[in-house]
Structures are given as C-alpha cells and as structure tokens.
C-alpha cells in the first residue's frame, strides 16, 4: 500500500525546479505533461535519465498545432508514470537537438517525426526516411495540417496508367 502523495505529484514538484521545464500539469495519478524549451531538450532528458530514474522512452510524437510543430517526448518510469514533454519548434524551421545519444530508443521515433512532419533532429546519426516511400515528393509532410495531395503530382507507385510490372 502506497502512503503519501501519488507518484506523479512527487515528480511534478521536482520537475518544477528544472531549467527548461514549465507548465507542469498532473493529469492523473500516473500521467503528467509539461512544456519543454527546445534548447534544453538534451539536458532535461539527461537529467531525467540520470537523476530521476526514468528508464524508458516510450515514444516521440510529432503534432502540428498550426501555430508550431510540437515534438512530444513520452518518457516513463517503472511505477507506471508517463511524462509527456512538449517542445514547440517553428513550423518554418522545425529544428531540435537529437537525443539518440542520450536515449538510443529515440532513433526510429525521431526518423518518424522527420518523415511525416519534417522535423530536423540536429545530430541524429542517420536521419533518413522511414515510413514513406522513397519516391515521395521532398518537402511534403502529410501529417501537417495544411498538407493536401497535389493531383498533378505522383506520390509513389506506378505512373498513372502504367503497369507496376513494367
């Protein structure tokens, strides 16, 4: 039986003193979210890993809020707590430091956000496309809210009227 405040509350108290972290919100006993200054992403994740016992990067989600692109880091603890750190980067220049060397699990998640939303993870060892096909037009990111397929363009596969088997 656990006594005292729920785990998420305790973590929230400690997070409020971390440089680069703001607007810490406890959503439920095992869920918190916070804003993250993109310039501090590596330092904050390093601190969570080494000083806070956070051991698992569950996912990195990219979200187009129309005002900016948010890169959301979902980090989790053994006791079931998940913290979602939201770093907003400009839509016209969505750059943020890669955290692959801090948390190797970030590798494929960063490539995914790069592929679908055009986020550039500076320092990623191998920032190639991962989900879209190789002949997908460059500079088109389908999960951006203003993206519309151009009927005059090809988005991969056989040419119009052609036969895939040649």
């Amino acid at each position: 039986v656990t006594v005292g405040p729920p785990p998420a509350e305790e973590l929230a108290v400690r997070l409020r003193g971390v440089e680069g972290v703001s607007d810490v919100v406890v959503q439920s006993s095992r869920r918190l979210s916070a804003r993250l200054n993109p310039a501090h992403v590596r330092a904050v994740l390093l601190r969570l890993r080494d000083a806070e016992g956070c051991w698992h990067l569950s996912a990195i989600s990219g979200v187009d809020t129309r005002a900016s692109i948010e890169v959301v880091y979902h980090v989790s603890w053994r006791d079931g707590v998940v913290l979602s750190l939201k770093a907003a980067v400009p839509r016209d220049e969505p750059r943020i430091d890669s955290v692959v060397d801090v948390m190797p699990a970030a590798n494929l998640y960063e490539r995914q956000a790069h592929d679908l939303l055009g986020v550039v993870f500076v320092g990623h060892p191998d920032l190639r496309r991962i989900l879209l096909n190789e002949d997908w037009p460059a500079d088109e990111y389908p999960l951006r809210k203003d993206w519309k397929p151009d009927p005059k363009k090809r988005y991969g596969g056989p040419a119009t009227g052609g036969d895939a088997r040649g």
Partner: protein, 393 residues
C-alpha cells in the same frame, strides 16, 4: 575481409506485411543490420483525423489484424478518459476477456511460426490446431475470428450468456493442459533448445537502452508489463503475474510467451467466473472536449501507445500510434550482430514482428561482385541444414 551485403525482403511468406533487411555478413557471421519498413505505410493516423470517433474506432481496429482488440481498446479508453465516461464494470471485464483470448491466439500463432522457422513442423501443426479453439471462442463471442468489433464508446457491444461462459471455462481447461505440454516441449526438446539457447542475445542493459517492450524485454529480465505497472480496464481487480526470464535469448522469449499463455488462461477463468452483473455500456457523448491523453495497453507484443489530442469536435486532432514492433526493431538489429546468418529467421521471428520480412534474398559478394538470389525458404532451409550438419538436429 570480404564483407557481404545481403538484402532480405521486403516480402515474407511466413509473417504479415513487408520489411526489408540489409544484412552485412563476414562469412557466416552477421556484422550489422539495417532495416527498411517503408513498404506499407497506410496513412491511418492521417485518415483517423477525418472520421468521427465511432468510424475512427473501426479504422483503428484495422491497424493490426492480429492484435486488433488491443488497438481498439486502447483508442476507446483514451477517448473515454478525455470525455470522462465511466465504463461499467461488466464491460471492463469483457474487454479483458477478449484481450486475453487475443493474447493467447497471438502467442500460439507466434509459437507455430517460430517452430516452422526452425523446421519443427509438428509443433507448428499442434499450436495452430489449438489456436482454432481460441478463434472459435472469439467467433462465438463476437461473430468474428479477427477484428472482433467488440468495443464501442462507453462499453462493449457483445455480452456473454451463461451457456457461453460454461463453454469458455471448458475450453480453458483443454487449453491449460495444452499450454503445460508446450512448456514441457519448449524446455526439454533438444531440437528446439539447440536452435534457441544463447541465440539472439539481448542483455538487460541493451534492452532498456533500446526501448524494447513486451516479451522481448521481459525475456531480458525486465519486469515491465503495462497490465501490472499501469493497470487499465479490470486489471486492478485481476492482478497479472509478470512473467520474466533471465536467459536474454530466443529461448527466453519463447518460454515467456508460453508461460504467458497459462497466465492469460488463469485471468480469463477468473474474469469469467467472477463476471460482474449490470449493463455492458453507457451512452457516450458525440464530441470530446479539448484535451490530450497518453493511452497505454499491454498488447501481445508489448507496450502499445496511442497519444490522442482532441479539439472539442467529434474527431481526433492528432492520433499517434506507437506500435510495440517499432519499439522492438532496434533490438533485432542489436541481437543479430555476431550471430550466424542461419539464425536470422528465428531471431527476427523472436520479437514476433507485426511486419513481415522476406521472400527474395539477393546475396552480393563485395569481393568479386557476384550476385545471387535466394528466397526466404532457401534461407530457412539453409538454417535447418546448417544446424543439422553442425549440431545434428
């Protein structure tokens, strides 16, 4: 050193969906591995933004053909959390029952595939025969063998009659005996042990760093099971024993899944015997308020995450689905290094990838620029022959 590059895939007759591996080998030893999963991106996350919740639910159930209930349950419980809908207890139990049946069918399917990959086809036939019992129960509950369509916002759409409950308990007894038999075979049969013991080694440290989930991480000694650490639906009332192994190899991943079948059967028995009364659903609103949720679910392959944002309408603003297989790919890449080419089928199969691998293999010798084409079957035969000649199995 003549390092050889071997592209494997993207088509694979054993598993679903395509993935391509570029394997660099030195003689028989794998030096490194690169993977390409881009062959079948369906744009479901984008499509979900254009459908109202009830329609999106049917779409999301089709993200995966094997763990469809995992995706559907994870999505509805996320939306229900944002809406503040309280799902009735009976519905929570029913979601757990279908979810655990799905886990058993998935693990039995996997066990058959893994047995086939090492040439142990008798075991493949046995497991797939027993899987039919599970599929028949699922069909009796939902009307479907796959994509059960059991969930709805606010509860479930199918109830269990007393007759069906009695039948499930009887089938559970049969499956319990079968799962004990499988555990005996997997831990004693020499053919299986030689092909899996110390193969695909993944240390606890690497598994943690690479973000491995599910049986892949539990076989490296990490007691991480969402049903236990972050309980949802009825798992608070039906506590799950977290199954782990310390061998960090393909054998461990197999034993974990085999023991999880027994544990799932125990949960199903408990849930069916203690099924609470009351309604199976409550009305849910059409639209969800502005909000966000990180919904987690222990799918057969591990931690499944749906990150959902809503904006006050009846559609999601953003749905990010991180499937367990994506989290486990880096572990395959790591666990293959230093092993034999002959071990690729079983190591790849050991994470139970929900994407498939191979049909056509091009062997390209960088030394003399020769190229030859193999099929996945050729590679599988190569593995079986390799071990027969060297180890006599």
């Amino acid at each position: 050193v003549a390092e050889v590059e071997i592209p494997i895939g993207p088509q694979h007759p054993a598993l679903k969906e395509p993935v391509n591996f570029r394997v660099f080998v030195d003689g028989e030893r794998v030096v490194r591995l690169d993977l390409d999963v881009s062959y079948n991106h369906r744009g479901i996350e984008k499509a979900a933004e254009a459908r109202d919740f009830p329609r999106a639910l049917y779409l999301i159930e089709r993200i995966c053909g094997i763990c469809s209930h995992a995706h559907a349950t994870n999505f509805v419980k996320g939306i229900e959390t944002i809406m503040g809908v309280n799902v009735p207890r009976r519905a929570r139990y029913l979601r757990v029952i279908v979810g655990e049946l799905e886990r058993i069918h998935s693990h039995l399917l996997w066990l058959g595939v893994a047995a086939h990959e090492i040439g142990f086809n008798t075991l493949f036939m046995y497991t797939w025969r027993d899987r039919e019992i599970v599929q028949d129960i699922l069909e009796a509950i939902s009307g479907n063998r796959v994509n059960y369509g059991v969930n709805t916002l606010g509860g479930v759409r199918r109830d269990l009659t007393d007759g069906l409950r009695a039948r499930i308990l009887e089938d559970v007894r049969t499956l319990e005996a079968r799962s004990r038999y499988y555990l005996d075979v997997l831990t004693q049969e020499e053919t299986f042990l030689v092909r899996t013991r110390r193969v695909g080694f993944l240390s606890r440290e690497r598994a943690e760093a690479l973000g491995a989930v599910g049986p892949t991480s539990r076989a490296s000694g990490i007691p991480f099971d969402i049903r236990r650490v972050d309980p949802y639906e009825a798992y608070e009332e039906l506590p799950v024993e977290v199954i782990t192994a310390s061998t960090c190899d393909v054998l461990g991943r197999t034993v974990v899944r085999a023991r999880e079948i027994s544990e799932s059967l125990r949960i199903i028995r408990e849930a069916v015997e203690n099924l609470p009364g009351g309604p199976i659903s409550v009305p849910a609103p059409r639209a969800a308020p502005k909000g966000e949720v990180v919904s987690r679910y222990e799918a057969p392959r591990g931690e499944l995450i749906h990150y959902i944002r809503t904006n006050g309408t009846d559609k999601v603003d953003r749905l990010d689905a991180r499937t367990p297989t994506l989290a486990n790919w880096p572990s395959v890449v790591d666990a293959m290094v230093g092993h034999y080419l002959a071990d690729i089928p079983v190591v790849v199969s050991a994470i139970d990838p929900c994407l498939s691998c191979t049909s056509r293999i091009t062997v390209c010798d960088l030394g003399d620029r020769t190229k030859s084409v193999l099929t996945w079957d050729d590679l599988r035969d190569h593995g079986i022959r390799f071990y027969r000649e060297r180890r006599g199995v």
